[in-house]
């Protein structure tokens, strides 16, 4: 099951973050189990440690890499980080994160929109991490973002989709793909996001900090697919009262 963002076909509606894995050696089996459409990395100052291993593992899996601007707290920082990522990794795609504080890790809407506008004008394919606010999502689409990525719950919380009505409102308010980002804790959260109309789900710590990351990667892959199929199947309306499924005629009285 594929989807298209900015004209590029992606192999799966499950995107995977790589942060939090206890060992880099787990990355390849996790990527194999998840079969993700994109895989995110961060950009940081080099230390004496040689760069390498991470990108080699992703390249061997054949998954397109999506650099993020995680940790940036201003448009200026995020724009420079995105430009460095483009130079280092050879991709103009960026998961744009501009957070407002280090406790909530909530997006800073003002800085986010400014950074998105600058990066789109600079030729980037911008996928912004945003709040579950349909108005901000539309503003991000208006400045040219290729998708919007509302949070289901705070980063790393594993609380799932806390406000499903808001996610549905975001889906209804934009025509670009909606990627649920942040909050996923387990497979049912991913399935639920897809049932709500999201086009994809990005999960990081749900997999990387699970007791068995490889098994959770496979579970999320199946969850996303199940949710997408269920969305297409058309769920029954919710009712406040019971409605028998067995015939009411011919009962033995």
């Amino acid at each position: 099951m594929s989807l298209t963002i900015a004209g590029q076909d992606l192999a799966s509606p499950l995107f995977l973050g790589t942060g939090g894995l206890p060992h880099l050696s787990l990355l390849e089996p996790v990527l194999e189990a998840a079969g993700p459409g994109l895989v995110t990395v961060s950009v940081r100052r080099t230390s004496a440690v040689q760069p390498g291993g991470l990108l080699d593992a992703i390249a061997r899996a054949g998954v397109p890499v999506l650099p993020n601007t995680a940790g940036c707290m201003s448009a200026r920082e995020a724009v420079l980080t995105a430009r460095l990522a483009r130079e280092a990794l050879g991709t103009s795609w960026v998961k744009l994160e501009v957070i407002g504080d280090e406790t909530s890790l909530m997006p800073d809407a003002v800085e986010l929109l400014e950074a998105a506008e600058i990066l789109v004008a600079d030729g980037f394919v911008v996928l912004p991490y945003t709040t579950d606010d349909p108005v901000l999502a539309r503003r991000l689409e208006d400045v040219g973002c290729a998708a919007v990525m509302p949070l289901g719950a705070p980063i790393g919380s594993g609380l799932g989709v806390l406000n499903p009505h808001a996610i549905e409102a975001v889906v209804a308010s934009v025509s670009v793909p909606v990627v649920l980002d942040a909050g996923v804790g387990t497979a049912s959260d991913a399935a639920y996001a897809m049932e709500l109309g999201c086009s994809a789900v990005l999960a990081a710590t749900a997999v990387t900090r699970a007791d068995d990351p490889v098994a959770m990667a496979r579970a999320l892959r199946l969850g996303v697919d199940a949710g997408l199929i269920a969305r297409g199947a058309g769920r029954i309306p919710r009712r406040a009262t019971a409605r028998a499924s067995s015939p009411t005629a011919g009962m033995i009285r």
Partner: protein
Amino acid sequence: MRIILNGAPVEGAPTVADLVEHHLGRREPAGVAVALNDAVVPRGEWGTQPLRDGDVVEVVTAVQGG
């Protein structure tokens, strides 16, 4: 000449390429990008981009991240 490399003062080098080689042990390491005073220096210009006293240089690479 003193410059700021990744937030710390260090002895400078004639060009960006020389600095990268001294810092990372290789002249053209894969997956690395350089910013000089908040502007990206394309890899093809590392060898000709001179450094000056007080320059602020960032050398970055990809790491695991959500």
